[in-house]
Assembly symmetry: C2
Homo-oligomer: 304 residues x 2
């Protein structure tokens, strides 16, 4: 599996399951692509499909998904809580295994250009694939959403697309295409019901308040029927090679002890890169010279 | 990568590198097979090749290796320290990823029958693929080695092969074909130079002296120039789903503390199943409901 890449397109449709099913079907039909997940949110009126494969089939599947979505979704009819600029709102490419982020950057740019041409739709590059520095932030690309972009795209040079026409697609709006590292959603549950402790720890570790790089965190109180309330530090690790799971756990453990409590257990939400988990094993065992290639299946995946 | 299987044939040739290279080449030529490792031992006059793939290419590669070895190795000329019965002495099939041992048992039996027929060579099934219970142990199959088997194969019903003729192949002798679980070679280095401590711990944890199931262990003293001597508990975990790395480390840590010392660090020798390492991560993090499928690349490998 050389150059394994994940693609996580978001679609502006979360209320008609049959539409989402058709898009998932279009992706799943492409040989060499594995659909890993799909979720549909009625409130946001939005869906997320996760699939992976090597570059070529992933591009083919993403193209098929765009084609199907442009047939089935009409942005002029769309309302929902989540900010969006188009029927296929955002298409990030994510490196897996030994694939480098740069490969996804290249892929996103090539794909963006192809999609703009083929479907006559404006494309904005964001994240690590951005060509304009201010477009690294997706929020900037989506400023004012579909409705404002419709007015500004042809008149405001700052809103001109990176590829495609300087007007929205009649039904599909515009597409943001990008590259980013994989994200790990990881929660640490504490042996306390004091929300304040979780909030204090979250604030101490998150990058935005001067904590650990590439860590997002918030404190929440878990309240499940029949169980004692439990304070939780809920984190997103947006670049585990900068700050990994083990580092976050060490720091949260230290801060929890300072606050007179302990980590009870952790939760991994969804999928995580295998390398990020192997790093935890290597850290625990104090493995000298450990290399993720020593994990048989990963080694094989790299060579195939 | 459905049904990923590892194959680790041992050849009775360790002194002529060109012969080993030719065998490795024959294996590497088969599409869908990855050569993971090969080692050559002059003293034992023996080589080991490790490769993997799905069932069909692995069988094709193993067959190619047998064919090449029978052309290039003559058992009548072979001397060496390691017990052996043939030019291709032993061919174990090992389940990787989500492959079950039973699939390797079936494969070993089918392969054994094919090889016996195609090359007119006697084949003995051993390990989990054994058809006679006493042949589960490879040592039993190899009793008296090539020289004794040559005399007994045609006359002693207890030595009759499972497949093929009741006489040795003129140059290649006989082949033992089997199935086994993957083996993890794992060492735990202690912060002491007392060999006796390592020996005591090794004796306490190994199955043969009443310790943990599927654990082999011995105590050794590492003496490297320029470094302090270090006592080591050297282990083989022959069924990590029965006794895993984390369990062994917990127990060795406990025993080391009882002896007034600590684990310094651990070493993983060669490759290990990814699942065995993920188990360590899940244990460390106290991950609730962790599933190896949450490791992205493994999940993908399973589905492809």
């Amino acid at each position: 599996m050389p150059g394994l890449i994940e693609c996580v397109p978001n679609f502006s449709e979360g209320r008609r399951p049959e539409v989402v099913d058709e898009i998932v079907h279009a992706v799943g039909q492409i040989e060499g692509v594995t659909v890993l997940d799909h979720t549909r949110d009625e409130t946001h009126n939005r869906s997320v499909v996760t699939f992976a494969g090597s570059a070529e089939p992933v591009v083919r599947a993403a193209t098929a998904a765009v084609g199907r979505a442009l047939e089935l979704i009409d942005m002029e009819q769309h309302v929902g809580a989540h900010p969006r600029i188009g029927a296929v709102d955002v298409i990030p490419f994510v490196p897996l295994g030994t694939t480098r982020l740069e490969e996804c950057v290249d892929l996103a740019r090539r794909f963006g250009e192809q999609v703009a041409q083929r479907f006559d739709i404006p494309v904005y590059l964001y994240g690590d694939a951005a060509l304009r520095p201010e477009r690294r932030r997706l929020a900037e690309v989506r400023r004012g959403q579909y409705e404002v972009l419709r007015d500004e795209i042809g008149t405001n040079p700052a809103r001109a697309p990176d590829f495609g026409p300087a007007r929205l697609h009649p039904r599909g709006g515009a597409v943001a295409v990008g590259a980013r590292k994989p994200l790990i959603a990881f929660n640490i549950n504490l042996r306390t019901d004091e929300l304040a402790v979780a909030i204090r720890i979250a604030t101490a570790i998150r990058e935005s308040s001067g904590g650990m790089p590439a860590v997002q965190a918030m404190g929440v109180l878990l309240q499940n029927p029949g169980m004692r309330p439990m304070a939780q530090v809920s984190t997103n690790l947006v670049d585990w090679e900068r700050t990994g799971i083990a580092e976050v756990v060490h720091e949260v453990r230290r801060l929890a002890r300072e606050a007179g409590t302990e980590i009870d257990h952790c939760e991994l939400i969804g999928l995580a890169p295998t390398g990020a988990l192997l790093e935890v094993a290597a850290d625990t065992l104090g493995l000298a010279d450990f290399n993720a290639d020593q994990a048989l299946e990963l080694r094989l995946a790299r060579d195939r």
